[in-house]
Subunit: 213 residues, 4 copies
Amino acid sequence: MTSQPAPLQEPTRRERRIQRQQKAIMDAAAGLFAQKGYRSTTTRDIAEAVDIGESTLYGYFSGKKEILQAILSQQAGAVDSLLVHLNELEDRQSFADLVDLLMETILARRVYNRVLVAEAWTDDEILQAYVIENWQPVMQTLQDFISMKTATGVFRPLDPALGARMIVACFIAAILPVLRGVESPPSPEQRHALAGSIVEIISNGLYLQKGQA
Amino acid sequence: MTSQPAPLQEPTRRERRIQRQQKAIMDAAAGLFAQKGYRSTTTRDIAEAVDIGESTLYGYFSGKKEILQAILSQQAGAVDSLLVHLNELEDRQSFADLVDLLMETILARRVYNRVLVAEAWTDDEILQAYVIENWQPVMQTLQDFISMKTATGVFRPLDPALGARMIVACFIAAILPVLRGVESPPSPEQRHALAGSIVEIISNGLYLQKGQA
Amino acid sequence: MTSQPAPLQEPTRRERRIQRQQKAIMDAAAGLFAQKGYRSTTTRDIAEAVDIGESTLYGYFSGKKEILQAILSQQAGAVDSLLVHLNELEDRQSFADLVDLLMETILARRVYNRVLVAEAWTDDEILQAYVIENWQPVMQTLQDFISMKTATGVFRPLDPALGARMIVACFIAAILPVLRGVESPPSPEQRHALAGSIVEIISNGLYLQKGQA
Amino acid sequence: MTSQPAPLQEPTRRERRIQRQQKAIMDAAAGLFAQKGYRSTTTRDIAEAVDIGESTLYGYFSGKKEILQAILSQQAGAVDSLLVHLNELEDRQSFADLVDLLMETILARRVYNRVLVAEAWTDDEILQAYVIENWQPVMQTLQDFISMKTATGVFRPLDPALGARMIVACFIAAILPVLRGVESPPSPEQRHALAGSIVEIISNGLYLQKGQA
DNA sequence: CATGAATGAGCGTTCATTCAT
DNA sequence: AATGAATGAACGCTCATTCAT
């Protein structure tokens, strides 16, 4: 008895405090991983950045590797939510809005994504589990969209896989310096304009078409 | 005849043997750096890959870091040679040939380039010294080309910097899996066809133009 | 009473434990440095002598070199305190007491001083920073004392610098085997008698003077 | 047959060349050992100083340690020759000449002696084999001399061992900076004058004696 | 729950010595 | 006889992790 309150669902207080601390550790660690790489970042670096004792980290994560995995996992959900919008992609949905959303999604957690790129670049398991696994549905949806457009004579005949890759490449290239950490993220307005330009290029190419004035 | 004194060029025998050994070390190291990252690759790993004693490495390089720098430096010359072709880029020179050459250049040392990307992603000095320094002239030339085409009404009005970035992004995206090490390099024929497709897309876009049939 | 807040001086508990451990490391290291020399003593040797892990050393000193410097620095303060007595050196203060004090001071940290001699013998910076720097004032005071005695006709005419050096040489020679580690240190009584004999010789020489009987 | 000339005593030509090379190595090594210590001097350092290949050293000495021992052994003979003069030490032989000779002997090979002091200070075997072994006869002779003088009423009553140590201490102290390498060696005239001063002090002390004017 | 202290495993590097040429 | 090349052994030091408090 002794007035034990709410024995079942208790994600309250202590639980939240733990999650807040975990997020603080992940943010600090991600910043360091992005700057110096996972391997060159020491647990001492992380602990100092969060201003806690080095061994306190082990109360929130089972080790350095788990901190990395927690950071990498963060992106999975975010990309999933994209699928909803992608599946609705029809003519009435402008490309620009989609690209804008993709860029916004990636930039929202740009530090986490920078870490993801760094690690996936040298680690096959991470590439598979956190990149291919998450982006495969996106690429597939894009390919299906292209196939449909090609079949209906809207798009020129082209390899859907290559087309999908080009689309993604173009908008990622546009934000690469931000992702890499050498440029500031664009304002929503800038980003929107950028998305428009990219879609213009990818849709109609560099060459001026006749009749476009 | 027989008494050829050869007084000048004397990089013979021993010199060549040293350079051969240095290349063997660099190749082995690059493979390991690409797989596990520079930091996670130990000098013991490298020595075992070349099948020499760990301390023998130090007869050819002053340290682990110097091996990395030798690998990174390799690319500088290759990119320089591109500029010659870029500067000749006129109407009569097809885009496709240029893109083909760019891809060939990058893929020729694809393992070295994979290491370069990995390190430049987390190290600002390497990014500056080995990427920006080398690619800036290439990007500038591309921008100038685009500006010229835009001014003469051949290209649509667009930001030359963005256009240049799109061009590079498209062909790099096409070979990214090879660079990353998860796909085999294309045959020259495949590569040539790929270059054609990329140029087609980047030139005229995804949409089928009227009058193109 | 009991509510003593002690707001200022707080080198308590942990601070003292750290200093105790540092001293234990310094003592063990000094013994090894004295026996085998600094260069031939490994950090593993020191750690084993203190019975701690090798890496634990680095929690108390930043490296092997810092352990040496801590040992060398120890003597500075001790020599400084001598100056007080030296400056009071007048007729009423017997030479013997001064020499006794000098010997006691040196022998109190004889192992540290043995290390100091060893390193100063081959390292100019250490010679300057830890020997000349500390002993210069002592030598100067002795020279001033001799000059004064010479001027007043008590001492024979002689080079004060040479005289000072002879004084120091004689008492150091007397304790050299102890400093070197091949003899046990003398008891206070033995040391006192030794000081008397040395002063007798340095004062009146080996020759029996007329009228001394 | 084959006209083999002089099969027995053949310390000619080749033998002498070997000895000349050995001496060159010993001199270079002694200079380095004196500056940086035996342990901190590498075989590469020595080889470079003699301008030969590192492995060539092993044609003249069996290893680094043997070079050191050859250097240390050099002094043995020199000290032995002193004994002849010491044994002739009588009244008619002035102290000053003896001290002058001692100083000259030590300074003649001052670099070798600096190495000897350095190594004997931390190595008991070297102390025994190269210092005590060589200097014991000298000390003994001095003690016998003092005992005789004391018995005949010329010297004051004193411990012969202490007296002998004082004598040696005084003249070594006078040349210590030269031995250490921070002062240039004195000219023969300077050395002679120095010897006179030292003998004056050690004989009659610092105090002005009555009747000495 | 937080942490200072401790540490084993392993890192990059040096060096005296050997050996084929 | 001379040496460039090679290397095992060992060095000083770092760090992710554990544990007593």
